[in-house]
Amino acid sequence: MTTPTAAAEGGVGQPTGGACAVRLSGITKRFPGVVANSDVHLSVAPGEVHALCGENGAGKSTLMKILYGMQNPDEGTIEVNGEQVHFRSPSDAIRAGIGMVHQHFMLADNLTVLENVVLGAESLHGIGGKARARIAELAGRTGLNVSPDQPVEDLGVADRQRVEILKVLYRGAKIIILDEPTAVLVPQEVDELFETLRGMKEQGYTFLFISHKLDEVRDIADSVTVIRRGTTVGSADPKKISSRQLAEMMVGSELPSPETRDSTVTDRDVLVVEDVRLCSLGADRPVLDDISLTVRAGEVLGIAGVEGNGQTELVETIMGIRRADAGHIRLGGADLTGLGTLARREAGIGYVPEDRHRHGLLLTQSLWANRILGYQTRRPTAKGAWLDIEGAKADTRRIVEEFDVRTPGIEVAAAALSGGNQQKLVVGRELSGNPKLLIASHPTRGVDVGAQAVIWDQIRAARAAGLAVLLISADLDELIGLSDTIKVMLRGRLVADADPATVTPEQLGSAMTGAAGEGDEE
């Protein structure tokens, strides 16, 4: 077995001549699911940043799991630095000098930076002085400027990401897979990350950069490969291609856009949230600090914010899943403050939760059973204490039809659908029964472009018909495109308003991190 030390010597790339750092040929992976990889070809030159683009669900993640040894391909070959390899597990891939930084960090919060980096790789440099020296040496490369003895829980998102990169460098990686590294960062942090990547590229590291954010891809990548429906559709030079052309390669057709221009905002208040405060045990500041907002009929109110600043809690408080410690919530004049979730739903709130698997669906149950969830007291899915199964089935068929849910039938389990189709089902359900208010948390997260377009269209149509929408999204383009008003949430407070007609994602990003003064976006 190759020892990782060969790669750990320093930043200089191996003189492998014309050989590719990574070459995947004819990779096919049949998988119990909707998207598999078929006949994927990918060549990454040493010392470049190679972007892998594709919509959500196009098969990028599967492909990277194959390269990282987490999945075995059914067909095809993998070559690393010109040699054919077979990875049986990620440790084989690590030995070959491949490292992966996952989208969701895999760090132990209560351990220090040093401990997190060394954890599982104690055999390389021990856990003492040698390890510390090695980490100090590598930390500079990743731009990590925190003490190795600081607990990870004290670090911000950007620093955590650097710790993740440090982890793979420590294990000797020369080829680093970054899975949607910018998804968790605000624009300023993205720029800093790109600076770091450029510096490391100079030192001979090779990056495989997975993203569907095309501007970023064009900014950082030396070459780009586009993957669509599980197969590679072509490579391009990002300097010579426009974002639009790239996007069309990804989608294979015309692009949807979140733009909503004609204002349908009325002066009729639908949701009124007044001075809502939510405290959590053991926290020194309230999770929600005197939140007040109003959503009017025909209006989409967008909430921007870095995740974890109270958006989830706000939504759950409005839904009655959490109980506010103070304040009032009114819907169309009726006070909801003392009511439970079901009563609030019955009062006319539709709820698209941020995590459809955990909060939106009963995965092992049929689509029509899922139609009943949240509507178990109302027609057409129930009559009094009895379920109306025929009614539920009929209405599910309507949703499948209207929302273009791609399914062979309504008897299949929800788990068998792809993410986008699951989400269309959820949105369709929550828009049925004439809600007055729709709360949409990340309504298009993790769904393909086609489903995104359907969901956007439906939200727009409902808005035009007088629906009030509270939209929470990490996708700033979506937020700016769909919203009539944007409020920025930071540490449990609404700190700024923005006008979606004029604000840029960068400005929003500043406000989200608190870099800008309060309210100066107005």
């Binding site: 060549s43 030159a45 559709v233 909060h359 669906l361 062979p408």
Partner: protein
């Protein structure tokens, strides 16, 4: 439907076959001939009152297993059915012996008392779980131990008990409280209240599959978070499920008590509750599956006698019961996973070939520049 049948019938059949294989091995190791043993077990069914005994035992098991299954539907492990049925039985018999009512009504009141007593005893863990987050597994196990003590206390001669034929009892029920059975001559008598199992089974199926309550119960069991977001009140569901479970458990002993014994004695069989847990697992919480499991259990119980007669240790039956439950749990899990994968594949295939969007594999739009090389 074909898929459904396979998934429902195949696992238990495989599991029983596998368990029989295991037990055959155990029999061989203990020096007996498995074929003789199995033959004796099956032949026993035709002997004397065996068939009726199996039906009567099955009816009792069915009730208690339904009680467990209701909890299981929402991942609530009511281990306390054992204590609940004993408390309910002894209370119902004491009350039944103390009151005088016309025939029919008398039995009905006893049943009501048993239902209420079982539900009340189950209310303790229910409230603890809903309002204090106490694991129902721990509290019900402890309450089982307490139930034993309470029953022994109630049976003391200076409390409600009566010493008859060397055993403490609740005293003989008056004639008006007896429930006649269905006499089959020499083959025995089927308990009249055995019909209760049929009613409970149908009621259980309707409740689970046709009512809002059943839907909320199953939703809570499948995903507590999704149920909450869908407006299901978790506390209410915990309390309701536990109360219903306790109420059904309370009925468990009545077919025997009102149909044959007419008194609750110290020696009333213990362990129905634990068999009920195993049977609910075996029947996968399905009304029909539990019926099958209950009858199988009663058959195995009965065949222990047959094994004894041919000199095979009857404990082999306990091994067999354990092996069946384990095999069933494993078999179902395997079949479930295979099915989900098959369904996903099927959905993928159908969509890959039938919808318009999958067919638009246009040649790679623009391959501007050969960047990668």
């Amino acid at each position: 439907m074909k898929l459904n049948l396979r998934s429902v019938v195949l696992p238990p059949v495989l599991a029983v076959a596998f368990a029989a294989l295991l037990c055959g091995l155990a029999l061989l190791l203990s020096g007996a001939n498995p074929f003789t043993a199995f033959g004796a077990m099956v032949a026993e069914v035709g002997e004397g009152t065996a068939a009726v005994d199996i039906i009567n035992g099955g009816a009792t098991y069915y009730l208690i297993a339904l009680a467990v299954a209701i909890g299981f539907q929402m991942k609530l492990f009511n281990i306390g059915v054992e204590g609940q049925y004993r408390i309910a039985a002894v209370t119902a018999m004491i009350v039944g012996g103390a009151i005088t009512l016309p025939p029919g009504l008398h039995a009905l009141v006893i049943m009501l008392v048993a239902i209420v007593a079982g539900a009340l005893y189950a209310a303790i863990p229910a409230l603890l779980k809903a309002y204090r987050g106490v694991s129902e597994v721990i509290s019900t196990i402890m309450l089982n131990a307490i139930a034993l003590g309470v029953v022994a206390f109630l049976l003391k001669p200076d409390v409600f008990g009566e010493l008859r034929a060397n055993s403490l009892t609740t005293g003989e029920l008056p004639e008006s409280a007896h429930v006649p059975g269905i006499p089959l001559g020499a083959a025995g008598t089927i308990f009249g209240l055995g019909l209760l199992s049929v009613v409970a089974g149908v009621g259980y199926w309707v409740l689970m599959n046709r009512t809002r309550f059943g839907f909320e119960l199953r939703a809570s069991g499948e995903s507590a978070t999704a149920a909450t977001a869908g407006g299901v009140n978790a506390k209410r569901m915990i309390i309701a499920a536990m109360l219903i479970s306790g109420a059904i458990a309370g009925l468990t002993a009545l077919p025997e008590l009102l149909g044959r014994d007419h008194t609750f004695t110290q020696n009333f069989p213990q362990g129905y509750g634990f068999s009920g847990i195993a049977i609910a697992l075996l029947g996968r919480n399905h009304a029909g599956g539990i019926a099958f499991g209950a009858l199988l259990w009663a058959f195995l119980d009965r065949s222990a006698l047959a094994l004894d007669n041919i000199g095979v240790p009857k404990e082999i039956v306990t091994i067999m019961q354990g092996a069946i439950v384990l095999s069933v749990v494993v078999a179902y899990e395997i079949v479930r996973r295979m099915q989900l994968a098959a369904e996903q594949r099927r959905v993928g295939q159908q969509l890959g070939t039938t919808n318009g969007n999958g067919a638009d594999r246009q040649p790679a739009a623009t391959s501007a520049g050969g960047g990668a090389e």
